[in-house]
């Protein structure tokens, strides 16, 4: 079997569970949003699950990721608990950022999920900095920067990748090309078809991969992460993917044709993963449905946990916001 060369049954089931958790989490939040029960905004990632999960399944707990304004998938993939994410979205004291961050500013430092940064492209040089830190301290940890196609023409993209390249920093740059920077199609801002071609400009390897195929993502990210860990420097990975919903709440996505959306949904990464599990690893539909059900239960419990959690203490409004001066050396 071709797939068994990449993953075993247990690994692929774990990958499926993560993707199912992300998809159902986003879908459930959207339903609650339609009922007016979600405070604040939503930037959802349905359709892009394979990238987050395929990359993060290759990472160790002490490796770090840097995410974006669309962080839920990355956070769940890196192991941040649904409870702490839900509580953060509901602005509760038990949230992963103490209720101060909201949907765009999720974090799970103990599992290597650095605070997500909603500024487009801003995390690229930060990830390079973290990787240089690992290099200097002699650690074999790896940093991953997630960003979208909208980030590739931001100045920080050039600065961050170039510095990482010349210093052989252990970082992997993951471009989730979902074709749209908010509502702007990538062809309106970038003339090259494959954004990974940019890697040549920095003298590093670049690869364009089907981001709707979690096995292809897993394999390509595994190679890039191993390279980084071995001291061979950064890689620019471009995953062609698609976000099913609009950019954020209230974005009807009318700039896309129904045919285009249908084209991408026909390549759904979760459906494809299910197909591989049943065809190559003899998983039954019941077995996979059970995984889905377990994920949904976890999600519902997390929202219940969030709703029932206490509000932040107003006296702690400055806590974790500014570094304590006395601790600065």
């Amino acid at each position: 079997l071709i797939t068994s060369r990449i993953v075993n049954r247990q690994q692929l089931l774990a990958i499926y569970r993560r993707m199912s958790l992300i998809r159902q989490y986003e879908d459930y939040l959207y339903k609650l949003f339609l009922q007016g029960k979600v405070p604040g905004t939503l930037h959802q990632c349905q359709g892009q699950e394979a990238v987050a999960v395929g990359v993060c399944e290759n990472l160790r707990l002490d490796d770090v990721i840097f995410s974006t304004h669309r962080p839920v998938g990355h956070m769940l993939a890196k192991g941040v608990s649904a409870n702490s994410i839900s509580a953060e979205i509901w602005g509760k004291a038990t949230g992963c950022a103490g209720g101060k961050g909201g949907q765009m500013h999720l974090v799970g430092a103990s599992v290597g999920a650095m605070p997500s940064n909603a500024i487009v492209g801003a995390n690229i040089p930060i990830a390079t900095g973290a990787a240089l830190g690992f290099l200097i301290s002699g650690s074999d940890r790896v940093a991953v920067s997630f960003f979208g196609d909208g980030a590739v023409n931001i100045g920080a993209f050039h600065e961050g990748i170039n510095l990482a390249a010349v210093r052989k920093a252990p970082v992997v740059f993951v471009c989730e090309n979902n074709l749209y920077a908010a509502s702007t199609h990538v062809s309106l801002t970038t003339l090259i078809e494959d954004l990974a071609e940019r890697a040549a400009a920095y003298g590093i390897p670049g690869e364009t991969v089907d981001g709707m195929d979690v096995l292809a993502v897993y394999e390509s990210a595994g190679i890039a992460i191993a390279r980084a860990r071995q001291g061979d420097g950064p890689t620019l990975l471009e995953y062609k993917t698609y976000r099913y919903p609009g950019h954020s709440r209230g974005d009807p996505g009318n700039y896309r044709s129904q045919e285009e959306v249908a084209h991408w949904k026909a390549r759904d990464p979760i459906d494809r993963c299910r197909a591989v599990l049943t065809a190559d690893f003899s998983c039954t539909t019941e077995e996979l449905d059970q995984v889905d059900d377990e994920c949904l239960t976890e999600i519902k419990q997390s929202v219940q946990f969030a709703v029932e959690s206490p509000d932040p203490n107003p006296n702690e409004i400055k806590t974790s916001v500014f570094k304590d001066r006395r601790s600065v050396k």
């Binding site: 339903k31 609650l32 339609l34 009922q35 007016g36 979600v38 209230g250």
Partner: protein, 389 residues
């Protein structure tokens, strides 16, 4: 049991949220993810989808009404109203509405929809947010406007066109708010009258069209406007848009009131084209059944109701126009000329100008140019096009 369908917080930056259209009716079976209705915010028109399966029980807010975020606009039941007793709940185990019940943490007490926009309440109207705002400002009912956009969507230009067709009566609400000033000038149109007579004499023989003083005024206005670009503008919202071509609104008296028809690219027309186009416009506006005259917001409207024999008057500025020129009737007056009293054909022209486009200099320049053109009208017979080339 029934669950409320609400207006979700779509991230509008302010202003009204309007329930634009219902895609389902009471009693319809709806599926999770199915679009139920469209909401128009200041940002976009978005479809709101059903968050669960069920049957649409009651629609509480009609299309076209302004709604608050969080307002309940409909209710959904698990079973069809008609067969409520027999039918089992839809997907009672996993997807029933009751499974999504949570303490309402973000909205305390959903407000009911208010009915500010009563005039929009009976039928669905597709219109851009900007068109709706302009229509509300001018006081034009969107129901009576034919949209030129995709699927008949109403754009701002359609609102202006409609406002012009409806004439001054509807524009009245806005006129009171237009900060404007007026400037007047006396024009000796004896040569125009003389020229007009001579053309009339030859037209009988050659079968060409008779011309009126209005035709000379239109031609002179086009030229003067070309030389005073500050006035060749129209007002869009709070801003001023300067036009490339000279568009003149021709005010035409009809039984229903004043109608405005647009003379496009008036500065590019020869004099005979001005004559034939304006005749055509008058025919289109005054004879029902003919295709509607092409109208759009221009820079200046010209009023010249010769039949009323007014000495001089002030014209109201039409919505989106920068100025209005009011020409009184041509009358024989005794005037001093070269130390002698002579009888000349005199007309008074009064220009009303929107304060936003001019502080007075442009208006004065325009009237001076208009006077020069009309007092020596022979150049007008040459098209501006030929003058430029």
């Amino acid at each position: 049991m029934s669950v409320p369908i609400i207006i979700p917080d779509l991230g509008a930056t302010g202003g009204d949220v309007v329930l634009a259209e219902w895609f389902v009716k009471e009693g319809d079976r709806v599926h999770e993810g199915q679009p139920l209705f469209a909401v128009e915010t200041d940002k976009a028109v978005s479809n709101v989808e059903a968050f669960c399966h069920g049957y649409l029980e009651h629609i509480l807010v009609a299309a076209g009404e302004t709604v608050d975020i969080g307002a309940t606009v409909a209710t959904l039941t698990e079973s069809s109203v008609a067969t409520e007793m027999q039918r089992p709940p839809i997907n009672a185990e996993s997807n029933g509405p009751s499974h999504l019940e949570l303490p309402d943490s973000s909205h305390s007490g959903a407000p009911t929809a208010n009915r500010l926009h009563e005039r929009l309440n009976s039928s669905t109207v597709f219109a851009s947010p900007r068109a709706r705002r302009v229509a509300a400002e001018i006081g034009v009912d969107l129901k009576y406007i034919t949209g030129s956009g995709a699927n008949g969507e109403i754009h701002e230009r359609d609102v202006h066109r409609s406002a012009e067709q409806l004439g001054t009566s509807l524009a009245g609400a806005r006129i009171a708010e237009v900060p404007q000033f007026c400037a007047s000038i006396e024009i000796d149109v004896s040569d125009v009258v003389d020229l007009q007579k001579r053309i009339a004499e030859t037209s009988d023989e050659r079968g060409t069209q008779a011309v009126s003083v209005s035709d000379f005024i239109l031609a002179a206005t086009a030229r003067a406007l070309r030389k005073v670009p500050a006035l060749n503008a129209r007002l869009l919202g709070d801003g001023v848009e300067y036009l490339e071509d000279v568009e003149i609104g021709l005010a035409i008296a009809t039984e229903q009131g004043i109608r405005i028809a647009s003379l496009h690219e008036a500065d590019r027309l020869t004099f005979s084209e001005v004559v034939s186009r304006s005749r055509h416009l008058i025919k289109q506006v005054t004879c029902p059944g003919l295709p509607e005259a092409a109208v759009s917001g221009g820079a200046i409207t010209v009023f010249n109701p010769e039949i009323f024999a007014l000495d001089q008057f002030t014209a109201v500025i039409q919505p989106s126009y920068a100025a209005a020129l009011a020409c009184g009737a041509v009358k024989a007056r005794v005037v001093p000329r070269d130390g002698q009293l002579v009888i000349r054909a005199i007309m008074h022209a009064t220009l009303s100008v929107h304060r936003q486009v001019d502080d007075g200099v442009a208006a004065a320049t325009f009237l001076k140019l208009l006077k020069e053109q009309l007092e020596s009208p022979y150049g007008l017979l040459m098209g501006l096009r030929s003058v430029l080339s």
